[in-house]
Amino acid sequence: MSPLLSVRDLHVGFGRDPLANEVVRGVSFDLAAGQTLAIVGESGSGKSVTALSVNRLVDFGGGRITRGAIALARGNGELLDLTRADERTLQKVRGHDIGMIFQEPMTSLNPVHTIGRQIEEAFRLSQGLAGQAARTAAREVLERVRIADAGARLDYFPHQLSGGMRQRVMIAMALASSPRLLIADEPTTALDVTVQAQIMALLAELREETGMAMIFITHDIGLVAGIADRIMVMQDGVVVEQNDASDVLDRPQHDYTRHLLEAVPHFRAGRATRDDAPPAGAPVVSVEGLVVRFPARKSWLGAGGGAVHAVDGVDFELAAGQTLAIVGESGCGKSTTARALLGLVGKTRGRIEVAAGRSRRPVQMVFQDPFASLNPRLDVAALLAEPAIANGQRQDAALRERMRALLARVGLPEDALSRYPHQFSGGQRQRLCIARALMLNPDVVVLDEAVSALDVSVQARVLDLLVDLQREFGLSYLFISHDMAVVERIAHRIAVMYAGQIVEIGSARAVLSAPQHSYTQRLIAAVPAVDRRKQHFSVDMTQVPSLVRPPGYEPPPARWRAVADDHSVRVEVPA
């Protein structure tokens, strides 16, 4: 059987001299109808550029195909070389044969049009439908991507939908042309784990229903394990390994594939937790009844406004030398809790007590985005000196010595002091942020999604560094994360947050191996993992409740059920 798509010796370059700046160097693969190919690699590996070359969207990003051939079998049996097709033909190909979904569902939808109009437009362009016919088709396709109450949703604007819903709308638009090939560029990276599992299950079901082929681009080899027929691993613009999915996953041939598979945090349901928990002592941080509310929209008379209950009655204690992980999905209040702890947001009420520590500011923080948390105009010496200056230390030789020692400790070169943030990679910047947080010799470090923005292999090394630093300096970590596999590696205790409240808290092993709360169970079931790829996920449509409450609303008092020695779960009240 001839393949649907056949790529031979593809070279793609960028810039004024594409031949000199090739980011894809000699990629070849075949894709049969109905098959799913996963292209896996870290940032800069050329995986996206390869996929975007297939529908020639790469041209709009300044890329040029310098060598090679891309043969696509079109619906009418004609074989088309996409590297030589003109723009008119390409538009037809993009409209009919190849659909595409992108990473960021917010930016790929037009905010000023209803989603109904945008889906109808897709039908108008690809199938010539208009008026009522287009509207009916739009409703049907929304139902196919499992959006409940599709008829009413057509009149929604993108901002009225959650990230997962928006990504489903994007998939619906891609399906409008009944494509024979769907290119999905990291379609779930910006989404929460449970939503990610929903989208993956949906894509798998749609593939069964329509028989379309898929190219799935991802950095997470664990994620594609369940959906891919073939896997192609890329590094620095070159394919290092491609084979059937099970061969790549179970018998990786290339060192880099093995490295990726090892670096991906494997979620092992509580069997890989740390067993170096420090002896229980007096807590360094204790939080009691923390409530953070933001006023919701008010009328101009100042009346009638409710409030967003971002954090609604949170209690926890953090012991010396311990890591407490707060896990949950976006909007659950985990970051707000962390920010309240540092005084970055004001608390509405509650008590936050921090034991007196080694310095005036015993709690320090490392932020998620290493690109945004370093002032681009200051050099490393100025960046590291800032906490010291803020606390009245003099800029003398001793301070420089401390900066050098910390830089060396986090694994940065000696000459880093005179360089600027843009000269470092993401992982190096995050090390820099860690060094900066340690400048004041803190007792507690709050890590707000500190490794989420990093590539998997970098992530693994930063996690190792964090564990080493914890032992060496006797630090306590408050580790905020959405990623269960990462949490399993670093946490001693875990608190699961849902809709502004902690629903389950206990030792990491207990929570991960025997989750009690239905939300914890859902969260854990959604974690993608290489060794769980045979499991089937059903499409679960549970939506997170709105946190905007009417004025005067108080949550019902929490009732806790002790499951084990260090494991309690909030008793669920049926809504």
Partner: protein, 279 residues
């Protein structure tokens, strides 16, 4: 230094820089008294001489050398332009920064005052201020400075608001950095690029406003030479001695062009998008 080099590498920046360099040289020579003739001395025999070998750009009704007077006039204009723009940039940046940093009532109050100032046409507001205080070099500087303050306040406030929410400012708060440190190191330092562009463009406007004020007799007072004053004196002699109007007019126009060209070049150079490409 790097920025200066890039200005010379930029095609329109090179022209602008050449013009402004020439003006600075002329003003310097004028200030040192190295003019071809005494700019204030009247030579009654040489009244209304057209441009020629002795008087390169001709003489006026009182027999004073146009070139020498232009050199002093340029100096006067540049002093007022640089002085007023420095005042405007300082006051405007401070107001914009504090409005963004404090937010709420202070923000509303500061920016509404700026809006009121901005609602007046520039020259009218300057006239009003001078009418109250009385003419003179210092008054011109103050008046033009006040007129252009709101523009700087606005240019600073917008980006300052977005910088304020950046994570590195949050990080600074977790260390307990002082407001002064955060405002200067984290906010102002990141605003250098838009401010530099704004300063160059404002210099061009200030030059024009100063000429306008002098033309109306409210800027530099005779007999001190100034570009606007020279234009005003020439207006009745347009037919007999067109050079009297032509040269000051051209001087004003070229000066504005020079600052604008540098401003455009700086905008291209300091734009982060183009910067990333060259970095």
């Amino acid at each position: 230094m790097r920025v200066l080099r890039s200005i010379f590498a930029h095609p329109s920046g090179r022209i602008g820089a050449a013009i402004i360099a020439l003006y600075l040289l002329a003003a310097l020579l004028g200030a040192l008294g190295l003019t071809p003739h005494n700019a204030l001395r009247q030579f009654p025999i040489d009244r209304l001489k057209p441009p020629g070998e002795v008087y390169w750009l001709g003489t006026d009704l009182l027999g004073r050398d146009t070139l020498s007077r232009l050199m002093l006039g340029i100096g006067q204009s540049l002093v007022v332009a640089f002085g007023s723009v420095a005042c405007a940039a300082l006051a405007g940046s401070l107001i914009g920064l504090l409005a963004a940093w404090w937010g709420g009532l202070a923000d509303g109050l500061f920016m509404r005052i700026m809006d009121v100032l901005l609602a007046f046409p520039a020259i009218l507001l300057a006239l009003l201020i001078i009418a109250i205080v009385g003419p003179g070099t210092w008054t011109s500087i103050a008046a033009i400075g006040i007129v252009y303050t709101p523009i700087f306040a606005r240019v600073v406030r917008g980006p300052a608001l977005s910088l304020k929410r950046r994570e590195f400012v949050d990080a600074a708060r977790t260390f307990g950095s002082s407001d002064t440190y955060t405002l200067t190191r984290h906010l102002l330092l990141n605003l250098v690029a838009p401010l530099t562009v704004q300063v160059t463009l404002a210099l061009a406007w200030a030059l024009l406003t100063e000429a306008g004020l002098s033309f109306l007799g409210l800027g530099t007072q005779p007999p001190a030479p100034s570009l606007g004053l020279m234009l005003a004196e020439s207006k009745n002699l347009m037919q007999h001695a067109p050079w009297l109007m032509l040269f000051p007019g051209l001087t004003i126009m070229l000066g504005i062009l020079g600052f604008n060209l540098i401003g455009d070049a700086l905008r291209d150079i300091l734009d982060p998008r183009t910067q990333r490409r060259t970095a």
